[in-house]
Amino acid sequence: MTLASPTIRPVASASERTPVLQIRNLSVDYGYDDNAVHALQNVSLTLHAGEVLGLAGESGSGKSTLAYAATRLLPPPGVITGGEVLFTSSRDGHGGDLLRMSDAQLRAQRWRDTAIVFQGAMNSLNPVYTIGKQLIDGITAHSPRGQKEAAKRRAMELLDMVGIPKDRLSSYPHQLSGGMRQRVMIAMALALEPEVVIMDEPTTALDVVMQRQIVEQIMSLKNELGFSVIFITHDVSLLLELADRIAIMYGGNIVEDASAREVYREPRHPYTAGLLHSFPPLHGPRRELRGIPGSPPDLMHLPTGCNFHPRCPFAFDACTTIDPVLGPTRFEAEEPHRSVACLLHDPAAAPGPVPVELGVRPPGVSPLS
């Protein structure tokens, strides 16, 4: 039982650095008037080719909103109020700003370039159609007319790929188990070999054993087909295993963006550090955990300044007035690829050096510069 890909991956190889999806200053409101809830505020995120990018956060942190806004699937009253989402194909270089595409362009782009695996497979499959019909429907919509037979063959191939017997093509969703339904969803998303697959909590409703099977399947398919993944979940421990890079969201902002190993070993944001202390370990010493005091913020009444300051053990005066932006850490010279949104890492605002907990250095580097 292992993830199909080796667990130690190079942090930055050349191919990983080609961006396929660039989200820039994306802002989303729910509601139209003055009382609109600012669900996302100037969020920027880049997905590189072949990368698994984890997006972690609690409910209400905006992680699903980000995925739906970036693919323009956000239902009203969600409104995209600004920003751009640039898709650049790593195969032939085509692409464009998803937020400015016409409906026809968008229809062609969906499934072919970016696909999405939704949260509850139970609710995302149509209960009155067989899974075969639903699979073939999507494929024929994107292929020239009169290709029904080919589409059916492709659908069978897809089921086979995710480990479901081909004869299940004529099954209805209720005849499949939760794990199989989720596999069908994954097969649908991969039907046109997209370059970017967004997975919105694909394993949340499943048991750990099934979760492991599905995650392994996703990773082996990723290695085989070479797509990039944005994996959204609230389970940071799962992300630590499968993601190359993790972005942590809190209250509609990305607060930290670093490689999976760095997030786990050397968190820079107090929220990340708190989150890591919220998961009881399965091995190693049994120690008392504290979690994070307080509750996640109410987006209707966000605190002033940093959204996290009411729960932050390191908060100081400036945190209540200045809203930190995503920027370099205090150790920029050694980790230029990392970013964090915390005033403790802003030399101009911070009252002193970075607290020890947030300044853990990689082995071999001198502590606290």
Binding site: T2, V209, L238, H277, P280, L282, H283, G291, P296, D298
Partner: protein
């Protein structure tokens, strides 16, 4: 039917005796449109809950762990088996008997968004609990109790929360109100059915720590039902693992999680995400899905998925074998005459 007086004299009050005990608890749900077929949701469960101890019941969804909680709470009629409270068999589904029972055995449900009535304030919800379980208390006393309950679950100052409606509270606060409501009955036993799985990850530990403190303070016996075996290790003294309606392994939490004996427990632990164990993962593939509980497989119910399944696993149901000092597993690999198979399966470890 014993009078309350008899019940007290007869009941077992030794300190080490279980507060609540089930013997051979079984629940078969009839299948619609069939007289003979039934869903074997829970089959012969023996559980002992001790004063001041947390026992975890771990299993996948559909393994029957919530049905066990509902049976113990007497919300469902058992098909067979006995539930003993303080050594006395109890069957109480309605009326006074039921009320006397629930005064001792309270339940916390998974979803605090659904378990609190949205049209009532916290004051009303907790006031009901106090009125029902402390009928003789006067108004002033009730007010004191009310504030005491909120303070116990760390909702301070209580005045701030008394007149709130559930929708004005966060998920963690709501679950705390639900816990306070259960405490209103001053129970001996708390049945916590996935009490934190609907909460945000950053506040789960807070609620578990609260339950831990309440356990120490009131000497509660807690049944902690969960699908997350890591949280069972953190919170529970003993852990029982359930598969397809049966308990297949039990023991001290640390032993069960660090040295799992049953192949299913091993699979469960190997599947849980664990960032510290990125390398050296078990290479055994996890195949298959839980069996149908209408026609469970003969023999051991785990045999279709078990990598070590032997001849007799397919036909005979394994009894419970002692594995270590306090650990037991229902697996043929631990039979006295199976040491060769055991070594073949686990190497020299066992």
């Amino acid at each position: 039917m014993p009078t309350p007086h008899e019940e007290v004299t007869k009941s077992d009050t030794r300190l080490d005796a279980p507060v609540l005990e089930t013997i051979g608890l079984t629940k078969h749900f009839p299948v619609h449109g069939s007289r003979t077929r039934a869903v074997h949701a829970v089959d012969g469960i023996d559980i002992q809950l001790l004063r001041g101890k947390v026992a975890a019941l771990v299993g996948e969804s559909g393994s029957g762990k919530s049905t066990v909680a509902r049976l113990i709470a007497q919300l469902l009629n058992s098909t067979s088996g006995v539930i003993k409270l303080d050594g006395m068999p109890v069957k109480a589904h309605a009326g006074r008997k039921f009320r006397r029972y629930v005064r001792n055995v309270q339940m916390i449900l998974q979803d605090p968004f659904a378990s609190l009535n949205p049209i009532h304030t916290v004051r009303y919800v907790l006031g009901r609990s106090i009125r029902i379980h402390h009928p003789k208390a006067r108004k002033a006393e009730r007010d004191e109790l009310l504030k005491g309950l909120l303070t116990q679950v760390d909702l301070v100052p209580p005045e701030r929360y008394l007149d709130k409606f559930p929708h004005e509270l966060s998920g963690g606060q709501r679950q705390r109100v639900a816990i306070a409501r259960a405490l209103g009955a001053t129970p001996k036993v708390l049945l916590a059915d996935e009490p934190v799985s609907m909460l945000d990850v950053s506040i789960r530990i807070g609620v578990l720590n609260l339950l831990q403190n309440l356990k120490l303070k009131f000497d509660l016996a807690i049944l902690y039902i969960t699908h997350d075996i890591a949280s069972a290790r953190y919170f529970a003294d003993t852990t029982m693992v359930m598969y397809a309606g049966q308990i297949i392994e039990r023991g001290p939490s640390e032993r069960v999680t660090q040295n799992p004996a049953h192949p299913y427990t091993q699979l469960l632990i190997a599947s849980a995400p664990d960032p510290d164990q990125l390398t050296g993962r078990d290479e055994r593939p996890a195949k298959g899905e839980p069996p149908s509980l209408i026609t469970p497989p003969p023999g051991c119910r785990f045999n279709p998925r078990c990598p070590f399944a032997m001849e007799r696993c397919l036909s005979q149901q394994p009894p419970v074998f002692q594995v270590g000092d306090d650990q037991e597993a229902a697996c043929w690999l631990y039979a006295d005459d199976a040491s060769v198979d055991r070594e073949a399966a686990f190497g020299a470890r066992a």
